[in-house]
Symmetry: C2
Subunit: 355 residues, 2 copies
């Protein structure tokens, strides 16, 4: 439907220059009040950017790390072997930045494999050039994947619809387009007029800080609400579809995502609003039978009691702060992947589309 998708401005991250270039990324810790870029010319700067969440979102972390390995081979000499050593050292070093990030390890492993494949190349210059090509490939595959999700998802949306999303499964979590927000971007780019409501997403406000910002940057009509207002907006007839991302999807289609997603799904069902989950095929973990087996991380109570630096709850109060919840497959109208739309959400259909 759409062919010349404009790039989201500014991009989450990009490689500046040629093989001797560097990685530039938006410092997401300063959003939404300040748009400042961080230029990473050396390995410790990349490591720190990942560690400190200046770049976040599984795919974006993976891409940043891949470019980080290229940066690690800072001064290519004529010795291929020393380049390989430098690349492997960079992989080991960057792996310590965020120990639980699956995409980080996946990307680093891929870069290491490629580095070891390059034993036969002419010299360090060719080595580094090939390594950069691999990082660019990871970057480009993410871009293509998000756009494919966007194209499939956009077909499900109609002109003049109101939409709701939760958290940030957007361009800032990936190279540029994101999984869930790609659906909105694609529909918007193809001329559909959308009104998007963004849940602020307590406790960490990814919706207010990131989703509202990037939708605004892209020129979409976006309205920020508190999580507790979604039900009212639905009851007013202002939402025709919900689209969210996922952190992990089980073989039966149960989807783990940011806390609050399950509640939105229940509310959508009660208002007869279709609820879509948009996620790349890599999000599926077919070794997990159902959502019951997805472990849910509990996070620091201070995210709730000391919101944004101020103490907003009594001293010593008990807190429950799960980071994710699981939306059962029965509440999901369809799963939108880069390989197609999974509808109905059944184990058989999942196997068929992802097959």
């Amino acid at each position: 439907m759409q062919s010349t998708l404009p790039k989201i401005v500014p991009p989450t991250l990009e490689w500046i220059g040629d093989v001797a270039g560097h990685l530039r990324l938006i410092d997401q810790t300063l959003l939404p009040t300040e748009v400042r870029f961080r230029d990473c010319h050396d390995l410790p700067t990349v490591w720190e950017a990942i560690k400190s969440l200046r770049v976040r979102g599984a795919p974006a972390i993976g891409i940043a790390a891949a470019y980080g390995v290229v940066i690690g081979v800072r001064h290519p000499t004529d010795s291929r072997d020393s380049c390989i050593d430098l690349a492997c050292e960079a992989v080991d070093y960057l792996a310590t930045s965020r120990p639980t990030a699956v995409n980080l390890f996946w990307a680093l492993e891929r870069m290491k494999t490629r580095a070891l494949e390059l034993r036969d190349c002419k010299d360090g210059v060719e080595f580094k050039s090939e390594l950069l090509a691999e990082a660019r490939a990871i970057h480009d595959e993410d871009r293509q994947m998000c756009r494919a999700i966007g194209r499939y998802g956009a077909e499900l949306l109609q002109d003049n619809w109101g939409l709701l999303t939760h958290c940030n499964a957007g361009g800032l979590a990936t190279s540029e387009y994101g999984p869930a927000l790609a659906v909105f971007y694609s529909a918007h780019d193809s001329g559909k007029r959308l009104r998007v409501f963004a849940d602020e997403t307590r406790p960490l406000l990814q919706g207010a800080r990131l989703t509202a910002w990037e939708l605004q940057q892209h020129g979409l009509n976006v309205t920020l609400i508190c999580d507790s207002m979604a039900a009212k907006v639905m009851s007013e007839g202002r939402i025709q579809a919900v689209v969210v991302g996922a952190d992990r999807i089980a073989a039966n289609g149960d989807a783990a995502n940011k806390i609050g997603t399950y509640g939105v799904a229940v509310l959508a069902a009660a208002h007869n609003i279709p609820f879509y989950v948009a996620a790349p095929s890599t999000t599926f973990d077919l070794s997990i039978a159902s959502g019951d087996d997805i472990p849910i991380e509990e996070r620091d109570p201070r995210e709730i009691t000391h919101a944004f630096g101020r103490e907003t709850a009594p001293e010593g109060i008990k807190v429950y702060n799960p980071a994710f919840d699981v939306t059962p497959a029965r509440l999901i109208r369809a799963l939108i992947t880069e390989r197609g739309v999974i509808d109905p959400v059944t184990p058989a259909q999942i196997s068929k589309v992802l097959g």
Copy 2:
């Protein structure tokens, strides 16, 4: 069931001393990090306390204003007429503190009526003494009303239940016990072991700042959650009933309450959890046929974009910030009033119980 209900410590407000005494109230703007009392010895201090939300919640404002009228008759002379003039001036002055607070006008009107009735009393000392008695009566009626709601509501709760509440319909909004939290206090005081989950209640965090604090003060087992976590807690089987307050109830039982309440009611229905609304009979507005006719105030976008003193959303973002939502009668298992429990929630049953 319970006879000697302990007073909630500390009380929201109290009259200190005899007829020459003063009003002491908790400065709620400092909660939950600081418990500081504000002693109001003169009229401007009472006015400022109401204006600046140091005392909040419709019933509590009404009681504070009633005592304020007594304080307004600061120096009773032998002249009854000058006392009456002072009282009427105090009424007019205090009425300017929060122009939309219905209970404020109700209490002031009652104090004025009483002042005018006292034309025949002996002197200024007797006048002021009688006026104080009227303020104490307003205060005591609120206390009795909340305790009656608490007694009726407590019958609906069982030992070892998990409960959820939203916003603060508690002691801090009334003289000491509150409408919704009175149900928990009464059940707790009668020996039932409860586990209460308090929604933090964005945007103004009354749940985190006030409900969590007063339940903790009263010795209840309370856990603070974000609004977006209620659905997960319900799905885990940890909630056996929801109890909330109401700002206004229509003739058909539709109830307006703090934004987010309607969503909690939908979630409760989806999890087969009974949803109760506890409110005094004065909350009912039988001139309003249904919730559709209840006007909903929209509030300052900055409550969402500048949470907690820090800017947490992009510049110029559109915001929707309704202060209340309406829960339809069909989602309410029963209405708990000081005159009894209204079950089922139908116009006929409402008329029957409220007489």
